[in-house]
């Protein structure tokens, strides 16, 4: 039996059941008969005002894996809630991108929208509904799927955050091999599981002579760190940073920025010879329980206001170039971003898979 077909049939049956259930308890705001789950643009359903009305009638939105201090999502969520009066349920804040897609279970508690890494976006595209926001043209071609199944939202560069009161200033990645860093260097996630962890290893690889296609130098580097006793296998979090257990942490620069709350002496270093960029992507659940609210959320995120909120969180919004030209960018927030001299490199889906396969096979032996 072909499992893919089985899943498709099961999904179809599930979708029929859900639509039937939704149909029986349809929006009490009687007039609109637009099925927003089929709309690929706001105009298709009658324009922004119709979308807003339909979303308000739905009254709820379910999001997933959005910690409040991740790229300022806390403020984004509360702004959206107060602007439209739509109540947001935030599920599984510590979930991985794969968890987000795994949560699509066809019930009314499933998430409506997701914010996932590239690998998951590519592998789960069949579960998304295509949609193009008003500012679709501002998103570069390489940063979106052609029909609108997924589209980049914000990104950042892999950096090394460190507590300058505990370790000397870092000027290059190889500094970390020094004796001043004994038992201090950690990752924010396991590279065999976490997108962030993997990109940390990729960055170390590029900084040590490797490339996006060759992550072995990165694994070797961490092996060296382990031999010198500088590597701490603990998962770095806000708490471990504040407690001083992980004073040097490989993580996205916008996440590092939020650690400044607990540690005033926290600094971020992005190596100029290894600027690894990573973008996350938005997507809408094909069986979203609240399709109009989901689409309104996307419109909000890609509006100038939404993009600037991400910028405030230290992330680089995908429309940054277009907004800077148009002058709608939040200049203070843009200036506060860590300075980066050099050309960023962004691993493609294939490069990430290749790196991931290598890491899966070699990481444990290298650092255990």
């Amino acid at each position: 039996m072909n499992w893919r077909r089985f899943h498709r049939v099961a999904l179809a049956v599930g979708a029929i059941l859900v639509v039937a259930a939704c149909g029986s308890t349809s929006t009490s705001g009687g007039g609109s008969s637009v099925d927003w789950s089929k709309q690929t643009t706001a105009d298709g359903g009658g324009g922004m005002s119709a979308l807003v009305a339909a979303a308000k009638a739905e009254g709820k939105l379910t999001v997933i894996a959005l910690p409040p201090d991740w790229a300022n999502y806390g403020q984004i969520i509360s702004t959206f809630q107060s602007m439209y009066g739509i109540q947001i349920t935030s599920l599984n804040p510590n979930g991985s991108s794969q968890d987000e897609v795994n949560a699509f279970d066809g019930t009314s508690r499933a998430p409506d929208v997701v914010d996932v890494g590239l690998s998951v976006a590519l592998s789960s595209a069949s579960k998304f509904a295509p949609y193009q926001v008003k500012e679709w043209g501002d998103i570069p071609t390489g940063a979106k799927e052609a029909t609108g199944l997924w589209y980049n939202d914000y990104g950042g560069y892999m950096g090394i955050g460190y507590d300058s009161s505990k370790v000397p200033a870092i000027t290059s990645v190889s500094d970390l091999l020094g004796s001043a860093f004994h038992s201090k260097v950690a990752l924010a996630g396991d590279p065999t599981k976490s997108n962030q962890g993997l990109n940390g290893v990729i960055m170390a690889s590029v900084a040590n002579g490797g490339s996006l296609d060759d992550v072995s130098k990165g694994v070797d580097f961490f092996h060296q760190l382990k031999l010198k006793g500088n590597y701490v296998p603990v998962v770095g979090t806000d708490a471990t940073v504040k407690a001083g257990q992980t004073p040097v942490l490989f993580e996205w620069d916008y996440l590092s920025a939020s650690h400044g709350k607990g540690v005033p002496t926290w600094k971020i270093f992005v190596p100029s010879n290894a600027i690894i960029g990573g973008y996350y992507s938005q997507a809408i659940n094909k069986q979203a329980p609240h399709p109009a609210a989901a689409r309104l959320w996307e419109e909000f995120l890609y509006s100038d206001q939404g993009q600037n909120l991400w910028l405030k969180g230290g992330a680089r919004p995908v429309r940054q170039a277009a907004m800077t030209t148009a002058g709608t960018i939040d200049a203070t927030a843009a200036a506060a971003l860590p300075a980066v001299n050099g050309t960023p490199q962004v691993p493609s889906g294939d490069q990430t898979s290749k790196a991931s396969a290598y890491v899966q096979a070699n990481w444990s032996q290298a650092v255990s």
Partner: protein, 269 residues
């Protein structure tokens, strides 16, 4: 009891308690110490992290949901598991190993794997019956099975179940009376401990609720933890304290039951 033996026993007890207290309480103390740290070097102690607990309104709904789940699960456990164990011991001893293994199975795989199997069933329940978080009780009872079985088994093994039930039956007691007035009062510790474990498990359970998109106490705690590093530790310690108080209340209430038939426990040499 001979005095020297009594004294040796007391020394043993106090040593054990002292070592246990150090081992278990010091990490808790370390956590609390961290949660009261201020920001920056040399900053004064502060309760700010603690004050941030309860900053989300969902926390209270989550607490009450978890409490209801704890009660439902414990009651279901006692009603379903205990009579079955008694019945198997008395009437179907060949099934003993089967029941034992089944009750151990939920603990053999990580919860994330178990969730994958149980999720389709919950989706079916959600679509056909109810969306309520209380449906989680069925899944929680499965998680509780290993602990409940082992505790009740230790208790049932310590009494002469056959003789007691035969005596009661020969005096004309129905099975209901046998269960409620003969078996239960003779294994008070086992029942209490099984209930304690069930309540503690439900209050501490995170994976099932999280992966099935429900919001119980631990899910709400996880969300609030992200507010501030100190708060993440503070709220977890607070949740532990809350569970502890609850279990103390439960053990006091549980001990108000009828005195056991036959000489059990107390005055143990």
């Amino acid at each position: 009891m001979i005095r020297s033996r009594r004294r040796k026993l007391q020394i043993f007890r106090y040593t054990v308690f002292l070592v246990a207290a150090l081992f278990f309480l010091i990490p808790m103390f370390a956590s609390v110490e961290f949660s009261t740290r201020g920001t920056g070097i040399g900053a004064p102690r502060t309760l700010d992290s603690w004050k941030l607990i309860g900053s989300t309104p969902e926390l209270f709904a989550a607490i009450s949901a978890s409490l209801e789940l704890a009660v439902i699960t414990s009651v279901m456990m006692l009603v379903l598991v205990l009579p079955t164990m008694v019945w198997v011991r008395l009437r179907l001893p060949t099934l003993n190993r089967v029941v034992e293994f089944i009750c151990l199975m939920p603990l053999t795989v990580p919860a994330i794997a178990l969730v994958v199997g149980i999720k389709p069933i919950y989706v079916w329940i959600s679509l056909n019956f109810t969306d309520s978080i209380l449906a989680l009780a069925f899944g929680y009872l499965i998680l509780v099975l290993p602990y409940a079985y082992r505790t009740l088994d230790a208790g049932l093994g310590a009494i002469d179940l056959k003789t007691l039930t035969e005596a009661a039956r020969s005096l004309g007691a129905g099975w209901g009376t046998v269960m409620l007035r003969v078996v239960v009062p003779n294994i008070p510790t086992a029942i209490l401990n099984a209930s304690l474990l069930s309540v503690a498990l439900v209050l501490g359970e995170y994976t099932f609720a999280n992966l099935m998109n429900y919001e119980n106490l631990q899910v709400a705690v996880a969300y609030e933890s992200l507010v501030d590093p100190g708060t993440s530790v503070a709220i977890s310690v607070a949740a532990l304290g809350f569970a502890f108080v609850l279990l103390m209340v439960l053990s006091v209430v549980g001990n108000l039951r009828a005195t056991p038939v036959g000489n059990i426990g107390g005055g143990m040499p």
